[in-house]
Symmetry: C2
Subunit: 257 residues, 2 copies
DNA sequence: GTTGATTCTTTATGCCGTAAAGTATCGACC
DNA sequence: GGTCGATACTTTACGGCATAAAGAATCAAC
């Protein structure tokens, strides 16, 4: 069970995101915390517990109560907005175009893939109402810069940027959720699938006959890397191969006007 | 704020999903509810309130307390599993291949797009740990059946199925979340963007210069349909155009071995 | 008529985000 | 140097959530 945001008060979120922290001499006790420290703690907690982290947990990590955070941050939604943008700072702002756009887009996609693997909770933050923080801008700018080099018009590129983004997010989400579910129950992935399939086969032995085309898809497997869990093999294979198809589509768009 | 599931107890979810309801004569009061009625009520509530619906709300709609539901359903997670599979029954199980695979995939994608529009909470159910219900199987089977007709091997098709699925989900999610956020605050989309942009421009007037490639993407707009809100125009245009790119990629894969 | 299984309600527990009120600490001014 | 008021932080409290536990009402089978 997970919560998502991206819905903080626009003004306050954006001010916190873009305004440099102004330090003045003020009456009262010295601040023991800072927005930055809280955001860092929030990220650490969310990396461990997912988006269902609590304000109490973030406070505890800083040796404070949950309410202490409200001195610095208007609420949990705004904190998530800040955490979201902060993590994006990990990503490169620029990719080399020396070998053309295709390797650059591939690199961007793989960076995103690994990024979502490190911070799966980010996938729960709404895309529709973007936080509009500087680092999020930079990430999309990096992809846009690559794609503009294809010479395609902005009109075409918006759909392409969307498609790449959706694809990477979707692929990452699938594996992130699988990891989270496995981690939560302590079950390895194989066990989970095994338990599920066993019950299914017991209740519906004719499954392969009822869904023959799925059967076709599920066979024809390549030898898998035994050092990785079953699901990671599958996910990575599907990610690479799906991305290849998408890039072929872009190539076709570039080739014909 | 939204909750997602797909993590119910495997055995109990799958039994409920696949086992026909067995009716026996039993002591005790006659059941006033049924699993089916509860699932229907759950869907109705989730369609209105999103995944953050409460067991209380579902019970209330049936004239019962929240706890009454636990007689029929082990918990909220399992209920969501059932709701998820039930809604999928709305979708066609077969698409005509008379005009080839491309119009068929397009039809499948548009059906999914509209389906997610009707039931946006479905997008919050984990894909990684599929519920494995009969109707979910049927939906993927329908897509698989179309794609198998391309003659591509299962190995290639898995990535393609994933890519299409991720893309459609991602595109639908973006617009679903935007609608939800607008509905929650009562703000129309334009207002929301306006408020956000105004603050942003005030704090960072040089935005276009800092992110010039994004600026390129955002201009070059087609005339929009004034009967639709701004965001729906954009989302639908991006969906169609992104899907086209993806299908071009599949076409390329089909053309060369 | 009694027993025991079953449906449903009531009550209670322990989470959550956060509002409100209280306490301690300090800079600025008299 | 003493007071005032702003600030940092804690305590307490509220209404929400899923759901465990216990009790009340209902009915088939003996």
């Amino acid at each position: 069970m997970v919560v998502y945001a991206g819905q903080g008060d626009p003004r306050r979120s954006i001010e916190l995101l873009w305004r440099g922290s102004v330090v003045e001499s003020r009456p009262g006790p010295k601040p023991g915390l800072s927005v930055d420290a809280i955001v860092d703690a929030g990220i650490a907690v969310a990396d461990e517990q997912g988006m269902a982290f609590s304000m109490r947990a973030v406070g505890e990590r800083l040796g404070r109560t949950a309410m202490a955070l409200y001195t610095y941050v208007p609420g949990k939604n705004e904190l998530v907005d800040l955490m979201y943008d902060r993590t994006m700072a990990e990503l490169p702002g620029k990719y080399s175009l020396d070998d053309g756009w295709r390797p650059a887009v591939t690199a961007w996609a793989h960076d995103m893939w690994e990024f979502y693997g490190r911070h799966p909770w980010v996938l729960q933050v709404s895309q529709a109402r973007p936080v509009l923080g500087p680092h999020e801008f930079a990430v999309i700018e990096a992809l846009a810069a690559i794609l503009v080099s294809t010479g395609l018009p902005g009109r075409r590129l918006r759909g392409i940027v969307g498609a790449i983004n959706y694809f990477v997010r979707g692929a990452a989400q699938t594996i992130a959720e699988a990891r989270a579910a496995g981690g939560a129950t302590g079950e390895a992935d194989e066990e989970w699938w095994y338990a599920r399939s066993a019950v299914l086969m017991e209740l519906e032995p004719e499954l392969d006959k009822k869904f023959p085309m799925l059967h076709v898809l599920e066979n024809d497997r390549e030898p898998i890397d035994p050092s990785l869990p079953y699901l990671e093999n599958d996910a990575l294979e599907n990610f690479r191969s799906g991305l290849g198809v998408l890039l072929d589509g872009i190539e076709a768009a570039v080739a014909k006007p």
